[in-house]
C-alpha cells in the first residue's frame, strides 16, 4: 500500500506540472431536467480537436475564446456553444426519444454507453422495481428481464429465492448470480434480501459470461449490479412513503371435503368387517360427513381432588367440513413499509440518505420479520480528486414457528413443519378452537384428540426460530484524474454480517394418564413420556473485503477512441461460526445453554479465502459505430492447490452500429437504430464442495464420529468422501450474438440474443463403490451445454400529451443438456424426495439438467397398461425408476405494461413459464392421511384401476373384473394410504407450467393545482398495488405453486410441506415529496 501511495504522489505532482502550462474550458452537460448527459462528443468547430464527456457529463477541453464548441451524441440533438471569457461552460442539451443511449453500469462499475456493448445487459430502474412495493428486491425483478429467472422457492415473512441467469452451468456447484452492490461483489445471492429496494437506483443484469468475465470466478453465473441512489443537484428533497400490504392465503393443495376421520388403520376391525371408531386417528378414512354432533377423541379424564377419575369429558364437534387449512391461515398478514429519504447536491458533491422500516407479518400466526435499513451515500469533488462513499446498515429480525414435536423428538431439529400439521388435520376439526392449549383440556398436549400429531397452536406458541442479522456494507471510491485521458481509481468495499440464531422449543411433562395411553394407540405421550425443553444457538460472523485499483485510459485519436483499463483486485472472505445445541434443558421456558443437562452439542468452524487478480480491458471505438472490446483477468485463488491456483478469463466482443456506419441508413425514419453484436469469453468456476468459499476442500480430513469424544477418549475417522488435491475449476466457454433495433424514432426497440455455452471439467463427487472405503470421490469430469434465445421488445404504443402506453415483452427459450458425466456413469442424483417417494432430482447424460426420476406403476411393456394383482386388484410399484422431464422451464415469457393518463399510471407484470415438470412430494403425505382430493374421487369405493391388466394363466389379460380390494383404509390396507405411499412417484409429477399475474399497480399523482395550497409538498402520489393476484396452471396440477421448491440449490423441481403456502398480496401506498 505504501508503494501505491508513493506512486499516487508522483503522478499527482507530474500532472500538476502539465496543468500549469494549459488553459482549459470545463463544464457539465445536462438535459432539460438537469440530469447529467454522459459521453457526449464535444468538438471545436472547424477542427479535429475533440473530447468526450464522462459518465457524469463532465468534460474538459483546451479551447480559445471565440471558438465554438459543437456537442453531439447518440440520443441528443446537436448544438453549438460559443466559448466565452470564463473557463466554465455548462451545456444544456435536448434529449431525443431513445432507449439506446442509456448508460449502463458494466463490470467493475464502469459506466458505458449501451451501444458500445457487444453483449446483453438489461437495466431495471427504481420505478420498475418498486411499482408493486416489494420488500424483497429479487421478487421485484420477476418477469421483467429475459434470461433472468427468479424463483420464489418458499414463501414466508423471510422468503427464499433462487436467482439464475441463463440457466445452469455447474452440475453440482453454484449457479446463482453474483450480486454487486455499489461495486462490492457479494457472492451470497441471499444478500439481495437485505437491500432496501427503495434505495436502489438501478439493477443492471450482466446476463452472460461474456459480460461478467472480468469479475472472475464468482461471476461465472452472471451478475446483478445493484447501484444505490446518489443525491441529485439542486434543492434538498425529502420523500416520505408508506405502503401497507395484506397477505392472504392463495393456494394450497386441493383437498377432499367429504370424508372425516374416525376410521383408519390397524387392527381396529370388527368381526363383521366394519371399522371400529378410532377417534384419535390422524387419517381421514372415516365416514362421510353427516353434520351430527360427534365425539372427537376418546375423552379426557377429569380428576377428583383425591386423584381418582371423576368422569371422562368428551369434546363434541359437528361432523362437517370446516377446512382447517383455510381457517388456520385466515387472518391476513400485514406488511408495512415506511420509507424516508433525503437527497441533495451541488456542483461539488451529492448526498443521499435513505431509511426504511419494513415489518412483515405472515399468514402463519406470530410469524414476523422486521428489517430496518439506513443508507448514507455521498460524493465530493475536489478539483481533480473525487471521493464517493456509500454506507449501508441493515438489521433484520425474523421470528417464525419452529418444528412441532413428534414421537421421536429430541432436538429442536426433530419434528414436523407447522404447515404439515395444519394440512393433515382432519377436515371436520375446528382448528381454531384449540388455541388455548394452556388451560383447555382438549387443546393441551395430553388431551389433544390426535394421538400422532401436535396441536399446531401449541407449536405456534412454544416452538420458535429467531434469527437476527446485522449487516454493514461500506464502500469508498477515490478517483484522481491524472489528466484528460488518464484516471486512477481505488475502490475499497467491506461487508460484515453478524447473525444470531436461537431456536427454542418448550418441554412438556405429560400427564400420567396420557403416558399410560388409555387408547393403546402408541400415542406421543406414551412414546416420549417427557419432552425435554430444547434449544439451538448459532452465532456467525462473515466479512468480505474487496479492493480494486484501476488505471483507466480514454483518448481519441482521429476516428479512433481507445478506452483501456488495467486493474488489480484483492479480495478476502472470512467466516466464523459457533453453534451450541442443548437437547434437554433444566427449566421449561428458560432457554440458556448453561442450563443444559448433560453435554451440549457444539461446533466451531472458520473459513478464509483470498484471491488476487490483475485484469486488463480495452475498447477500441471507430467513428462511433464500431467497437471492439477485449478483456482478460488473471486470478490466483487460495483454495486451490498452488499448481492449479492461477487461471485466466479471456474475453472479447464486438459491436457494430450499422445505422450509423452506412450513410444511407442515417436518420432513417423507420429503422432509427441498428446494431449487431457478438462476444466470446471463457470463465472459470471454483466448485469445491460444501465448505464456504471452497476452502480446505483438497485434503481429506479426520472427523470425530458420532458420540466422540467419550470423556477423555477421543476418536477420529476418515471422512467418507475422497477429496482430490489437484482439482481444477470448471471452465465455461460462452459465446453470444445478438442485435438491437430501434424503429420509428426508437419508439419500438427490439433486442435479441442467442447464446451458447459449454462448461467442461465439472467438479463432481462420483459415487463410488463403498468397497473402496469411501462413498464418493471428487473428480473433474463431465460437461454441460446451455443454449438459449432471448428476445426483448419495448414499445411506446401511444404517446400524446395526456396518454402514454408502454408495452414490454421479454421471452427466453432455454435448452441445456448434460453431455457427459463421469466415465462409465450416466447419472448423478442431486437430491432425494421426502415422504418415502423413490428417486429424486438427477443429472443424466444426454438429457436436460436437472430431471425428475422416480418410480411408476409396474406396467406391461407391450402396451403400457398397469399390471395389478389378480387377487387384491392393487397395482405395484416398478422398482426401476424412469425420467419424468426436466425441472427448469424451457420457455419464459414476461409481459410488462404501463399506461399513464394525466396523473394516473397503471402498471402490470405477467409471466409464463413452461416446458418443465414438478414433483409434488406432499401428495404422498396427503394420501396417507386421506386428506388429498384424489383419494376421495371414487367415493372410497372399490374400483377397477383403469387401463389395467393382470396375470392369468401365465399371460396378461385386460382387467375388467378385479377391483381394488379396499378403497378406503379398512384394516390399514387401503388403496390410497398403502399403495399410494409405497414409494410411487409418477402419480405426483405434474406439469409445472403457469401463467402468473405478478404485479399490478395503479398510482395517482395529485395534480400541482391541488398541492399549491400546501406549498411545502412538492409532489404526492397515492397508489394501490397487488402481487401474485392470479395463477393459471394445468388442471392436473391441483397441488401447489410450481415455482416453489424444497431446495433453492440446483435440485429445483420438488415441493413439499416444508414450504409455507403461497400468498396473494394487496396493498396501498402513499408517497410525499417535500
Amino acid at each position: 500500500m505504501r508503494k501505491f501511495l508513493t506512486l499516487l504522489g508522483v503522478l499527482v505532482l507530474s500532472s500538476v506540472l502539465v496543468l500549469a502550462q494549459q488553459k482549459n474550458v470545463t463544464g457539465r452537460v445536462t438535459d432539460a431536467q438537469g440530469q447529467p448527459v454522459p459521453f457526449a462528443t464535444i468538438r471545436i468547430k472547424g477542427t479535429k480537436v475533440g473530447t468526450s464527456a464522462d459518465a457524469d457529463g463532465n468534460y474538459s477541453i483546451k479551447a480559445k475564446e471565440g471558438e465554438t464548441l459543437v456537442i453531439s451524441g447518440t440520443g441528443i440533438s446537436t448544438k453549438e456553444f460559443p466559448v466565452g471569457a470564463g473557463g466554465v461552460l455548462d451545456m444544456q442539451v435536448i434529449r431525443k426519444e431513445t432507449a439506446l443511449t442509456e448508460v449502463v453500469v458494466t463490470s467493475l462499475g464502469v459506466k458505458r454507453q449501451a451501444k458500445e456493448l457487444g453483449y446483453s445487459t438489461a437495466k431495471i430502474s427504481n420505478k420498475e422495481l418498486n411499482q408493486a412495493k416489494v420488500v424483497d428486491l429479487s421478487t421485484g425483478l420477476q418477469g421483467k428481464v429475459s434470461g433472468l429467472q427468479v424463483n420464489l422457492t418458499n414463501n414466508d415473512v423471510d422468503p427464499t429465492t433462487r436467482i439464475v441467469l441463463r440457466g445452469n452451468r455447474s452440475i453440482t456447484g453454484n449457479n446463482q448470480a453474483l450480486i454487486v452492490v455499489d461495486g462490492v461483489p457479494i457472492d451470497d445471492v441471499s444478500y439481495i434480501t437485505k437491500v432496501n429496494p427503495e434505495d436502489v437506483e438501478t439493477v443492471n443484469t450482466l446476463k452472460g459470461a461474456v459480460a461478467a468475465a472480468v469479475y472472475g470466478s464468482k461471476a461465472s453465473n452472471g451478475v446483478l449490479i445493484i447501484t444505490t441512489k446518489h443525491g441529485t443537484r439542486g434543492k434538498p428533497t425529502i420523500t416520505i412513503g408508506d405502503a401497507v400490504q395484506w397477505n392472504t392465503l392463495s393456494y394450497y393443495p386441493k383437498l377432499q371435503n367429504t370424508f372425516g376421520s374416525y376410521g383408519g388403520e390397524g387392527s381396529y376391525t370388527n368381526p363383521d368387517g366394519t371399522v371400529l371408531n378410532v377417534p384419535y386417528e390422524n387419517q381421514s378414512y372415516g365416514p362421510v360427513f353427516n353434520g351430527l354432533r360427534t365425539p372427537l377423541g376418546l375423552g379426557v379424564p377429569v380428576f377428583n381432588p383425591d386423584g381418582t377419575v371423576a368422569r371422562l369429558d368428551t369434546n363434541m364437534v359437528d361432523f362437517n367440513y370446516k377446512n382447517p387449512v383455510k381457517s388456520f391461515f385466515k387472518k391476513p398478514g400485514i406488511t408495512n413499509q415506511l420509507d424516508i429519504s433525503y437527497s441533495s447536491g451541488d456542483d461539488r458533491g451529492t448526498f443521499y440518505m435513505g431509511f426504511q422500516d419494513a415489518v412483515v407479518n405472515g399468514i402463519t400466526p406470530k410469524n414476523q420479520s422486521r428489517r430496518d435499513n439506513i443508507r448514507l451515500n455521498g460524493s465530493r469533488i475536489y478539483g481533480r480528486f473525487k471521493a464517493e462513499y456509500s454506507l449501508g446498515y441493515n438489521q433484520k429480525v425474523t421470528d417464525v414457528a419452529g418444528l412441532s414435536y413428534n414421537q421421536t423428538s429430541g432436538s429442536v431439529f426433530t419434528g414436523r413443519p407447522l404447515y404439515f400439521e395444519v394440512m393433515n388435520t382432519p377436515g371436520w376439526i375446528p382448528i381454531n378452537d384449540f388455541k388455548n392449549w394452556q388451560t383447555d383440556m382438549f387443546s393441551d398436549p395430553n388431551g389433544y384428540f390426535n394421538a400422532y400429531a401436535t396441536n399446531p397452536w401449541w407449536t405456534v406458541d412454544n416452538s420458535r426460530n429467531k434469527v437476527n442479522t446485522y449487516d454493514i456494507l461500506g464502500n469508498v471510491n477515490l478517483s484522481f484524474k491524472i489528466n484528460d485521458w488518464l484516471n486512477l481509481t481505488d475502490r475499497i468495499g467491506v461487508t460484515q454480517t453478524t447473525l444470531e440464531q436461537k431456536i427454542t422449543r418448550a418441554g412438556i411433562t405429560f400427564a400420567p394418564w396420557a403416558i399410560a395411553d388409555p387408547w393403546q394407540a402408541g400415542n406421543i405421550p406414551s412414546s416420549l413420556q417427557y419432552l425435554a425443553p430444547a434449544e439451538f444457538d448459532e452465532t456467525f460472523f462473515e466479512q468480505r473485503i474487496n479492493n480494486d485499483a484501476i488505471l483507466a485510459f480514454d483518448r481519441t485519436f482521429g476516428k479512433f477512441n481507445f478506452k483501456a483499463m488495467a486493474g488489480v483486485n484483492y479480495a478476502q472472505r472470512y467466516r466464523r461460526t459457533i453453534a451450541l445445541q442443548g437437547d434437554a434443558l433444566q427449566f421449561p421456558g428458560f432457554y440458556n445453554i448453561s442450563s443444559v443437562l448433560g453435554t451440549p452439542g457444539y461446533g466451531e468452524s472458520m473459513f478464509k479465502q483470498r484471491e488476487y487478480s490483475i485484469y486488463e480491458d480495452l475498447t477500441v471505438g471507430y467513428s462511433e459505430f464500431l467497437f471492439l472490446h477485449l478483456s482478460n483477468r488473471d486470478e490466483w485463488n487460495s483454495v486451490l492447490d498452488p499448481s492449479q491456483r492461477h487461471f485466466r478469463y479471456p474475453g472479447g466482443d464486438i459491436s457494430f452500429i450499422f445505422t450509423q456506419a452506412i450513410e444511407s441508413l442515417n436518420n432513417n425514419r423507420i429503422l432509427s437504430f441498428g446494431k449487431i453484436r457478438a462476444g466470446i469469453s471463457q470463465v472459470a468456476n471454483i466448485n469445491l464442495g460444501t465448505n464456504p468459499y471452497g476452502a480446505y476442500s483438497l485434503v481429506n480430513t479426520f472427523v470425530p464420529p458420532t458420540g466422540f469424544p467419550f470423556g477423555n477418549l477421543g476418536g477420529y475417522s476418515q471422512s467418507n468422501t475422497y477429496l482430490n488435491p489437484l482439482i481444477k475449476p470448471e471452465i465455461t466457454t460462452a459465446q453470444e450474438v445478438g442485435f438491437d433495433l430501434g424503429f420509428l424514432n426508437n419508439r419500438i426497440n427490439l433486442s435479441a440474443a442467442y447464446y451458447h455455452s459449454i462448461t467442461k471439467d465439472q467438479t463432481l463427487t462420483a459415487q463410488i463403490s463403498p468397497a473402496t472405503g469411501f462413498t464418493g470421490k471428487v473428480v473433474n469430469a463431465g460437461q454441460i451445454t446451455n443454449k438459449g434465445l432471448e428476445l426483448d421488445v419495448n414499445a411506446t404504443v401511444i404517446k400524446t400529451k395526456d396518454w402514454t402506453w408502454q408495452v414490454g415483452v421479454n421471452y427466453a427459450h432455454y435448452q441445456n443438456r448434460v453431455d457427459e458425466l463421469l466415465p462409465g456413469v450416466n447419472e448423478l442424483q442431486l437430491s432425494g424426495f421426502t415422504g418415502g417417494i423413490s428417486g429424486g432430482i438427477y443429472a443424466i447424460k444426454g438429457l436436460p439438467y436437472p430431471v425428475i426420476k422416480t418410480t411408476d406403476w409396474l406396467r406391461d411393456s407391450a402396451n403400457g397398461k398397469i399390471i395389478v394383482d389378480p387377487v387384491t386388484g392393487f397395482p405395484s410399484v416398478d422398482p426401476n425408476t424412469k425420467v419424468y422431464g426436466n425441472t427448469n422451464p424451457t420457455d419464459i415469457l414476461g409481459i410488462t405494461t404501463s399506461v399513464s393518463y394525466k396523473g394516473f399510471t397503471f402498471s402490470a407484470v405477467a409471466d409464463y413459464r413452461g416446458g418443465n415438470q414438478i414433483m409434488n412430494e406432499l401428495g404422498t403425505q396427503l394420501d396417507f392421511t386421506g386428506i388429498s382430493f384424489h383419494s376421495a374421487e371414487n367415493a372410497r369405493q372399490r374400483m377397477i384401476i383403469p387401463n389395467s391388466e393382470y396375470m392369468s394363466g401365465g399371460k396378461l389379460v385386460p382387467n375388467n373384473s378385479v377391483a381394488v380390494q379396499n378403497g378406503g383404509n379398512i384394516s390399514g390396507a387401503g388403496f390410497w394410504p398403502t399403495v399410494y405411499t409405497s414409494g410411487i412417484g409418477s402419480v405426483y409429477v405434474t406439469s409445472a407450467a403457469f401463467w402468473k399475474l405478478r404485479e399490478v399497480s395503479l398510482t395517482y399523482e395529485i395534480p400541482g393545482s391541488v398541492l399549491s395550497h400546501v406549498n411545502w409538498i412538492k409532489r404526492a402520489v397515492v397508489g394501490i398495488n397487488g402481487r401474485n393476484l392470479l395463477m393459471l396452471r394445468p388442471k392436473s396440477n391441483f397441488w401447489s405453486d410450481p415455482e416453489f421448491s424444497d431446495n433453492n440449490g440446483n435440485a429445483v423441481g420438488s415441493t413439499s410441506e416444508y414450504q409455507n403456502p403461497p400468498t396473494r398480496i394487496f396493498g396501498a401506498s402513499l408517497n410525499l415529496t417535500f
Binding site: 484471491e611 487460495s638 480430513t701 458420540g707 477418549l713
Partner: protein, 514 residues
C-alpha cells in the same frame, strides 16, 4: 507512458509477492493427519455400532423377533421379497469403517507399531468374514485402493476366507512383536495411550488388562477364536477338511487359547446416557430421555423364540423378552393378525441393560459353543459337554448381569438347573444328537445378540428347525440363504458385481453352505 509501465510493473510485483499470502488453505476445522490411536478407538466404536444393529431383519427371519401389530409391516422383510437396495446402508457401513483399520495397518507398518497392525488384521478378518457370510464373493484384494481403483473386482469367497485365516495367523506374530515392543521400546506414555484407546481389552475395561503383555494375549485369544469360527463355518465344505484341521493345529500350537468365560471381546469407550454417546444397541430402543423409540415399538417378540424358552422351562425367556403380565408372548412374523404391542413382549431386559452397557463383538459363550462344536467334530481335544454347559452358563451370566427387576437371582444355579433338566437339546446327556444340542443352544443363546452368526449356523446346519414367515404373500417357503448385492454397488461397480439369477436370495448359496 513510462510511468504507466512502471505502475503496471509495480502492480504485478505486488501480486507476485502476494501469492505467498495465498497459502492459507490449511484446514483449521478438522485435522488432516492423526495418530493411529484415535483412529483405532473410532474404528472399534464404529464396528460396535455396526454389529449392534446392522441387518436388523435377521432376528425376524430367525425366530427371535417379529413385527408389531401396531405398525405397517416391512413388506420386504416379511415376504422375503428383498430388493437390491435392502442392505445398502449396512454394506456401506462395514466397508467405510473398515478403511480406518486399513489406515491403522499402514501407519502401524510404516511407523513400527506392531499392535496396530495386529488389531487391524483381526478386525479386518472380523468384518470381511461377515461380508462373505452374507454376500459370498465380495471385493477384497482390490478394495480400499481409492486412489487407483474405484471399481474393485470381486474375489472368490473361499479365497477371501483362506486369506483371512492366514491374516489371523500372522496377527499373532504382530501381537508377539508388540509384546517385545511394549517391554523394550515403547515409552510409558505410549503404553498408557495405546492402553487407553484400546476400548476392547485396554486396562480401563473390566475384561481387559493394563499390562500390555496381558492385553496382547487377550487379543491373541480373540484372533484364535475368530479363526476357529471361520474354520467352523466351513464345516460342510468337504475340500476344506484337511485345511481346517491343519489350521486348528496351528492355533493350538501357538498356545494362547480361546476367549474364555468372562473374557468376551466387547467395546465400551465409556458409553453415556447422552444422544449418540449411548450404547448403540440400547440407543435403538431407548432415547436418552428414557422414552421408547419407534424401534422399540416396532420389533416385538416372535412366538418361535418365546415358545422355545417356555417349552424348555428356560428363565432366559424373561431376559430375552420383557414380561407381559406373568408370561412372555410373541407374534408370528408376517402374521396379518398380529396383536398390538400391549399384548406382546418387547425386547427384554437381559439385552437392554442400560445406556452404558458393553457392546459385544465376540462373546465368551459364542467362543465356548464354537469350541464345543470343534471338540464334538473331533478337531479339538477337550470335553464337549463341559464346554457346552459352560457356554450355557456364560450366557445366563451375561443375561442376568445388571438385571434387577427380578430380584436377587443366581445365573449359575439357574443354568445348572436348566442343563440338567433331562430335556433333549438342553441336557447334554439327554440329547441324542450332540451337534443338534450344541446348535440349538447356540441359537437360543445368540437371540438378539449375534444374529448374523445364528443365520450362518442355521444355513450350514439347518438347526434349529425354524418356521417360515406367516405372511400370506411370501415369495418362496424358505428362509433366504443370502442377501442380494446392494444397489449402491451395482450403481457404482456394476461390471464387477457377480450376476445372480431371479430369487437368488433362495438359491445362490454362500460357498460354505454345501
Amino acid at each position: 507512458m513510462k510511468k504507466l509501465l512502471i505502475a503496471i510493473l509495480v502492480g504485478s510485483l505486488a501480486v507476485v509477492s502476494c501469492t505467498k499470502s495465498l497459502n492459507i488453505n490449511n484446514n483449521p476445522n478438522q485435522p488432516t493427519s492423526v495418530t493411529p490411536n484415535v483412529v483405532l478407538s473410532a474404528a472399534l466404536v464404529g464396528s460396535a455400532a455396526n454389529v449392534s444393529f446392522d441387518y436388523p431383519n435377521l432376528p425376524c427371519w430367525l425366530g427371535y423377533w417379529s413385527r408389531s401389530g401396531n405398525y405397517v409391516p416391512d413388506v420386504q422383510t416379511e415376504t422375503y421379497n428383498i430388493a437390491n437396495d435392502y442392505t445398502n446402508t449396512e454394506w456401506g457401513n462395514i466397508y467405510t469403517n473398515m478403511k480406518n483399520y486399513i489406515y491403522i495397518e499402514r501407519v502401524g507398518q510404516t511407523s513400527g507399531l506392531p499392535f496396530y497392525v495386529g488389531v487391524a488384521k483381526v478386525m479386518k478378518a472380523y468384518n470381511m468374514s461377515t461380508l462373505v457370510d452374507l454376500y459370498n464373493n465380495v471385493p477384497y484384494s482390490d478394495a480400499f485402493k481409492v486412489g487407483t481403483e474405484v471399481q474393485p473386482k470381486f474375489d472368490d469367497a473361499q479365497t477371501i476366507y483362506n486369506d483371512l485365516v492366514s491374516e489371523l495367523d500372522s496377527s499373532i506374530i504382530y501381537f508377539e512383536n508388540a509384546k517385545t515392543y511394549y517391554t523394550t521400546v515403547a515409552t510409558s506414555t505410549t503404553i498408557n495411550t495405546d492402553n487407553q484407546y484400546d476400548v476392547v481389552y485396554g486396562g480401563g475395561r473390566p475384561n481387559g488388562s493394563s499390562d500390555p503383555v496381558g492385553r496382547m494375549t487377550l487379543w491373541e485369544q480373540f484372533a484364535n477364536t475368530l479363526e476357529l469360527k471361520l474354520l467352523i463355518h466351513q464345516s460342510q465344505v468337504s475340500s476344506q477338511q484337511t485345511f481346517i484341521q491343519t489350521e486348528i493345529a496351528k492355533i493350538v500350537a501357538n498356545g494362547f487359547g480361546f476367549i474364555g468365560a468372562g473374557q468376551s471381546a466387547n467395546v465400551n469407550p465409556g458409553y453415556q446416557p447422552s444422544t449418540g454417546k449411548d450404547n448403540p444397541f440400547y440407543g435403538n430402543f431407548y432415547a436418552v430421555t428414557g422414552s421408547t423409540t419407534p424401534t422399540q415399538n416396532y420389533y416385538r417378540a416372535e412366538a418361535t423364540g418365546v415358545n422355545f424358552y417356555i417349552n424348555t422351562v428356560d428363565n432366559r425367556g424373561f431376559f430375552f423378552y420383557s414380561a407381559v403380565g406373568n408370561s412372555i408372548a410373541g407374534n408370528h412374523e408376517g402374521d396379518p393378525a398380529s396383536l398390538p404391542n400391549s399384548n406382546i413382549s418387547a425386547v427384554g431386559p437381559g439385552l437392554l441393560k442400560g445406556y452404558t452397557q458393553d457392546q459385544l463383538l465376540l462373546s465368551d459363550f459364542e467362543s465356548l459353543f464354537l469350541q464345543a462344536e470343534a471338540v464334538q467334530r473331533g478337531w479339538l481335544s477337550g470335553n464337549a459337554q463341559t464346554l457346552y454347559q459352560n457356554a450355557i452358563t456364560a450366557n445366563y451370566v451375561y443375561l442376568y448381569n445388571g438385571v434387577t427387576v427380578y430380584g436377587p437371582i443366581d445365573p449359575n444355579a439357574d443354568a445348572l438347573a436348566y442343563y440338567t433338566s433331562g430335556l433333549a437339546d438342553v441336557d447334554w446327556t439327554a440329547s441324542p444328537n450332540k451337534l443338534e444340542a450344541i446348535m440349538t443352544q447356540k441359537w437360543a443363546a445368540l437371540n438378539g445378540i449375534n444374529w448374523t452368526e445364528a443365520w450362518t449356523d442355521y444355513r450350514r446346519t439347518g438347526i434349529p428347525n425354524l418356521p417360515i414367515t406367516s405372511s400370506p404373500t411370501h415369495l418362496v417357503p424358505q428362509i433366504p440363504v443370502r442377501y442380494l448385492y446392494p444397489q449402491v454397488e451395482l450403481n457404482t461397480n456394476g461390471a464387477n458385481v457377480p450376476k445372480l439369477g431371479n430369487n437368488a436370495q433362495f438359491t445362490a448359496k454362500i460357498f460354505w453352505n454345501q
